[in-house]
Symmetry: C3
Subunit: 396 residues, 3 copies
């Protein structure tokens, strides 16, 4: 418990640069801001593990807007909100079209009168998700400045077409704890590689988020994919820039084996090529069902050329001491389990299954930290008060 007190004091001594600012992309934030989130998330986890209440809201809503189905992100968001005392209200937009202009302005205000935070997941359309979140943010600014809203709800990006910051930050906290410290991550090689999957259309935000974050924390990033399966070009270039700035390596290779060689960490995951996602967005916009079917067919046929991009025992042997840490955002396509042939072999996945669960377990705390940093000027001071009060989460 002395450790907990020290951690709180350390956090309270730091500056919270995230107050009243939406969390849309990790690259909009300073390294200090990101470390602040890691520390705060860990503290919130420590509080809960020690059965100390972190209820900072007596009432208030946390609205979730999911423009795509999701079980784990939904539960992570609900858990985070509940941990702080907010009640989740789901805003179902599944049947809606891509909304623009007045509809966004109005809806954003209508759901926000007594709302403290809004979590948005919108990863279906390239060029849309991030734009949508910014439009919601501007509508909220407008409403708050003009006296419509008594508070300006914060926005947390729960996955867009560009970044998936709650995932990449949970991954970073996992790496920090796994290797002992952020310092220890310096010089480590992470292989963010494409992997085969019998599905198509998987979003690019996870690999984009990983290369845009890990290059800033001293890791050498090897991005691997079959020719043509590139990410948003601008974000690949950004990662290269981050690497240069932080004296780390960033390379793009077209061989899973090459990326795996001597890697400390591997992150094999399927995604759709950028140019396919562009076509798909156009077809979806035009409701071209036939075109979508044709695209899916040609895309799956194309994928089938790369079925050997599977994370198996042989490839794992190429990694540092044959013992690289395997990561995945889940659910993984496991060969012989969830599909005939997929991203990872059954034996490799089974070896790392529990660590992928532990990895996922950080997400609720990362989201709660993003919420708290958005709402409180000095979360450290608030946690200090909660520690002193020492109210139990579960009665004893």
């Amino acid at each position: 418990m002395i450790d907990l007190k020290n951690k709180i004091e350390k956090l309270a001594a730091n500056n919270n640069g995230l107050f009243a600012k939406d969390f849309l992309q990790t690259w909009d934030k300073s390294r200090e801001d990101l470390e602040y989130i890691l520390d705060l998330a860990q503290l919130l986890k420590d509080f809960r593990d020690n059965n100390i209440s972190t209820k900072t809201f007596d009432s208030g809503l946390a609205v979730s807007i999911f423009r795509d189905q999701s079980t784990r992100t939904r539960f992570s968001f609900a858990s985070a909100a509940n941990l702080l005392g907010l009640e989740v209200q789901d805003m179902d937009e599944s049947k809606s079209q891509i909304a623009h202009g007045e509809t966004i302005r109005e809806t954003a205000n209508m759901i926000s009168f007594l709302t403290d935070l809004i979590g948005i997941r919108d990863d279906m359309f390239l060029g849309e998700g991030h734009t949508y979140m910014k439009e919601v943010g501007e509508a909220l600014d407008d409403g708050f400045e003009n006296g419509v809203l008594p508070q300006r709800p914060g926005i947390v990006n729960l996955q867009c077409d560009r970044d998936h910051p709650t995932q990449s930050m949970a991954d970073l906290l996992h790496l920090k704890n796994h290797f002992g410290s952020l310092e220890n991550l310096k010089g480590k090689k992470i292989a963010m590689t494409w992997a085969y999957s019998p599905s198509y259309g998987k979003p690019l935000s996870v690999p984009q988020g990983i290369i845009g974050l890990m290059t800033r924390f001293g890791m050498n990033v090897s991005l691997a994919y079959p020719e043509g399966y590139n990410l948003i070009p601008e974000l690949e270039q950004q990662a290269a820039g981050f690497a240069k700035l932080n004296n780390t390596n960033f390379e793009i290779v077209h061989s899973m084996e090459e990326a795996f060689t001597d890697a400390d960490i591997v992150y094999p995951k399927s995604w759709a090529p950028f140019f396919v996602m562009q076509q798909r967005t156009e077809l979806l916009k035009n409701k071209d069902t036939e075109g979508l079917k044709t695209l899916e067919k040609s895309c799956l046929a194309q994928n089938a050329n790369f079925m050997n991009w599977e994370c198996d025992e042989a490839k794992m042997k190429l990694t540092k001491n044959g013992e690289a840490l395997y990561m995945h955002c889940l659910p993984a396509d496991i060969s012989g389990v969830s599909c005939k042939k997929g991203e990872v072999s059954e034996s490799v996945f089974e070896k790392y299954r529990l660590t992928t669960y532990i990895e996922a377990g950080y997400k609720p705390y990362i989201i709660a930290a993003m919420m708290m940093a958005n709402r409180f000027d000095d979360p450290g001071e608030i946690l200090g008060k909660l520690f002193t009060e020492g109210k139990c989460r579960v009665m004893v």
Copy 2:
């Protein structure tokens, strides 16, 4: 804060005639009762604006029954319940038929064992919504009197076929604050007028609610619609009676321009003619899909004759100093924005956009006030205790 204390004392000095009584129609309530709701709603808003907790329930459910889709009313209800400490549980009846008799009696009891409040929206069928709410109320009476229920949950009408009291009361609170006091509303002219919309089947409850409420608060009401687009005749006559009783004017005219002339407030909004709603109810009951299509077609064709019933700059110039307050329950059909030609021109709407948002922002507090007045014999006393305790809504 002294102001807040005075307001609380003033409220506590008044008699709460709404205790343990369902809120179904404003015209079931006395003027004093309605003013009580306005004062209580404003106080709940003041408490929240001053970051003081209004959590009066430690646990308990607020059940919402929506027999129609709704985003803003759903969020208003959820916000109101949360503000008082109740958890919302949605009762999904979308797939159900119009329920009667034993089904209502049983369901009403089954959802109410630990329930404090029930909000119902049922505006689809003329002659059904209000009846349904009364049946639910009688089932709850029966359950409570016979020891089935440990409490008799209160019912709040979230829109029926006759009235939309949470809307009209939010509108009245908006008007009170906009013009400075209820006293100042005396002699003001409000134009409640039909407006063109490219849809059909919109409920009558908003205009009915407005004419049945504003005539009682000293306003002169001009109800305007094309010939044949009348509301429920009984409710038009009731408004005329209220006007007579309160020495105000109530007129029915068939020209938007006439209604707008010298108006202090305009409320242009589309609705379906009474006789169409009657036919529609019969067709829906009989599941006559063909008949519904035919009715819709003829109705839209009929509407098209009145496309000039649009609230535009020219008509706004006819109002008092060309500066009448524009009101709408949202979402409005905005010409060139949400449709080709609609209820209001883009420039007029844009000028008043933010005030319509502010208007909508009162609804959560009106609902919370209706809930609190139903549950507490003396809400003023309760608010006094909460003020003294001074627990923060958000930690500081």
Copy 3:
């Protein structure tokens, strides 16, 4: 209130054998355990009736997994969770297939990071529901033991293919209160009989739950059904074994009249024959829509031979003094009300309508008691603290 204090002390003196153990079937529990639940449920009801808070959780989720539609069980679960301070999150699996293996392991962990309790309803497939719940439990054990989960959420069976313990225990508490004590139930005859219904495919868990529980509490159980409409054979034999062990009678007869004769309690309820449910499970697994239609048709034709299995005035006259207590888990198929010809005549149902509502009203408290016994080593001690604190549920 002295009575309440005595009850708390009595409970605290007893051993809680249910701590940290899932509640899947009443026959997995000792008689003492079941009595403990009855006492705890009654105390939770007493607390609420006396407006004393039973909020034992400051935050935390209660996850509901419904693999079948349900209004009353859903509300009972939500009410119970809310009573203890947990927020319900629904896990929608309606569109999912029967999940196995990795999917269950992963999902169980992903929804449990900040979850204290999980309620599962899975009664559609014979041989599946109970197995599924055990698999979820094993996945949670695995996650907890390996540091994935900070706590091992408890599981409450909200109805499976074998037992419906929240129903049967609510029924037992109803009987205890109706007849004055568990002692008074000794020697009473309960007729658990099949009844005609114009539907098919109703689960077997209610009759199985009743015969497996009441035989252990001194009641003589007469199970009646038309030839061929038997329950899971193993569970019929188990009930016979319980009866022998507890010196009560258990008989299977094929006449409603015979079962009703001299019965103190009658529980007439439709179910599908075991062999039909077996066929149905196979057909559902194989998605054999045609086969399902054929089965339904032949099954309904078969049922029609037993339309006289209706609980009517004439049969009620056969019961002890013609005044047996009528029970039903609701909703009942009432002749002339919810269907042409059903399980019970209108006049019999109307006479007992309110007592069936009262019966249903125990379920939220039974679920809350199962939750609390699972989470707290000594619920009596916790209730003692809550009683001393005396926080009001609703402000006064």
